[in-house]
Symmetry: C2
Subunit: 358 residues, 2 copies
């Protein structure tokens, strides 16, 4: 592959694997009776979005009005903005509501009244549920606030209550499939209890580990994972996927090789990988070294990016007599790595444009 | 300021402070007899570069050929590429050498011979010295390799040996000025010893903490700091600057406020701040909350970004009855934060373009 001589750090997309991930998740959603509303924050590419369309996907999830506008411009007309609504979004939403049916995360009756007044069209309301770990949303035990929100939706003309959503970020800390299950099952119970209290609500689950690991989603109506489109090293460590499912790789030139120390400096730093990390044998791992041939992708044991500055990466634990001019790195967190580039290069050498600014 | 109603996360530049930082560092270089060759990787903006020109700067430092091309296009014609040379850079260097006098970091005699053959014009050679902490460069005790490199420069027609360079990254871990001094003084001794062995070599020091904290640089000929143009929260904690010197701030909308928990969710995540962090009272601090008025900038004690996902930030430890629609955040590491945006907004509301891709 001529890519091997790249001077600039690039991210390389395995189109076949990516499409397979999309189809697999679409098939799982169908077989489990869930609607797949994939989160597009990971790939942020209109072209990759079109691969979802080919897999029958019609409704998507994003995390900002900017991302919603980007995908609306490509014809996506049913969009969930999976981020707590805040009033500065109004001008963007007023423009977006002409292009797409919107589903918004609302946390207060004041905001419902505000939007009922300010928006022109009906919109759907999702109540984000905090299952106890506490990022955003309404705490699952706060029935009072939840009741008021649903009641207010009924009283107003534009907001339509749709259901409950949880993105349980704790599953990203799981060490294996069993741990993912142990984290997400109580969360699914929380959602089902809410459905019991508020009949007619749909239930939506957001995280990639749960969507990947579980084969049944009792009571759940919708899945909105994003990361699965590429997966990454973190997901292989959780057990969400195998290395053979990972579809995004970084290709970095080697700038200096220290033979005696089994160490190399690569042109691939924090601005090319992000500083997200996992711990491997107690050491910080900012990117896993891979051995990629035309027929296989393997990780190189004990060899990973152990330090990152702005433009430099340090790979430690290299095999003896390592003599490569470039290295393939499996990103730890593909969402953050992809965010640093304005395009992908496919393994066939084709350029795929993407949005760069969050 | 109308900025306060921004929907999108923005980074705001205090032009007056930035220009003052530039002038101060230029004055310090002059008073200490050092040439200032500032690193432009932090701001990556042609306009901000022009402020250096106004301060008398004629020679600059960058960390990639792409960054060199960007600044060469604005007329900078004396450029150090402070990154180990690797052969994939050749096409870019062949083009660059027509626009600028180049100063390259070379680690092997093979590379010197390669460039002597492949480049058209003379170029200057810097030997990056590893003072013991081990990122890139040649270990300071490896006199053999250093001798061979200098000798090869003499034998060939195009490479001209210029001197030694150290970027001592350990100073970024210092907790106060005294620690910076304790780290950098032995490193300056190492450089001076090399100058003793290899007379005529110039000595260059790269890190912002040393350039900021020290008032004398015995034997040192050049300074190449970059971060000082903006500084950041990390530098205030090291003692490189005061908060009044910090010239770059992030402005993020508040999306959800938890009054009882003194906590808020902001639209400002890892893709808006980077995941670089310091520890404050033992807790991860991804961004320090500031109180900014027209006349002053103060940090809000115990209030900082304690968690980051792709688009969400969590601020903990908020003061009681916090009711702001937006928050000002002091970035932990301004180089990585600035890298995530394609422009700055000045405190006067003016847009300043910048390069986005590393």
């Amino acid at each position: 592959m001529s890519l091997i001589n790249t001077e600039k750090p690039v991210i390389v997309l395995d189109e076949r694997r990516c499409k397979r991930n999309i189809k697999k998740m679409a098939a799982k959603a169908e077989s489990t009776g869930c609607l797949l509303r994939p989160h597009f924050k990971t790939h942020q590419s209109i072209e990759i979005g079109s691969w979802f369309k080919e897999a029958g996907i019609r409704e998507i999830t994003v995390s900002s009005t900017g991302m919603a506008s980007y995908f609306a411009s490509a014809g996506w007309n049913n969009i969930t903005i999976a981020f707590p609504f805040f009033r500065q979004q109004l001008p963007a939403l007023s423009s977006l509501e002409n292009q797409a049916r919107l589903r918004l995360f609302i946390n207060s009756t004041d905001d419902l009244e505000f939007l009922d007044e300010e928006l022109a069209n009906p919109f759907e309301v999702i109540i984000e549920i905090n299952p106890g770990y506490g990022r955003s949303g309404i705490h699952y035990l706060d029935s009072d606030t939840i009741s008021k929100l649903i009641k207010t939706c009924r009283q107003l003309s534009k907001p339509k209550f749709h259901g409950f959503y949880v993105h349980d970020g704790r599953t990203y800390q799981a060490k294996n499939k069993k741990e993912v299950e142990n984290i997400i099952k109580p969360t699914m119970n929380i959602l089902n209890n809410l459905k019991g209290k508020f009949p007619g609500a749909t239930l939506s689950l957001g995280d990639t580990p749960s969507a990947s690991v579980l084969d049944h989603f009792p009571g759940i109506d919708e899945l909105t994972p994003g990361n699965f489109v590429f997966y990454d090293w973190m997901q292989t460590q959780i057990g969400s996927c195998n290395l053979d499912d990972v579809a995004l790789f970084a290709l970095f030139p080697v700038a200096q090789y220290f033979r005696k120390e089994n160490r190399a400096i690569i042109h691939g730093g924090a601005t090319h990988l992000s500083k997200d990390l996992v711990y491997t044998n107690g050491k910080q791992n900012y990117g896993q070294l891979l051995n990629i041939s035309t027929s296989s992708v393997n990780s190189v044991d004990h060899s990973f990016v152990t330090a990152l500055s702005q433009e430099h990466g340090t790979i430690s634990g290299l095999p003896d007599h390592f003599d490569k001019g470039s290295v393939w790195i499996c990103p730890i967190h593909s969402c953050l790595t992809a965010n640093l580039y304005d395009h992908y290069i496919t393994t066939e050498g084709r350029r795929i444009e993407k949005r760069i600014l969050s």
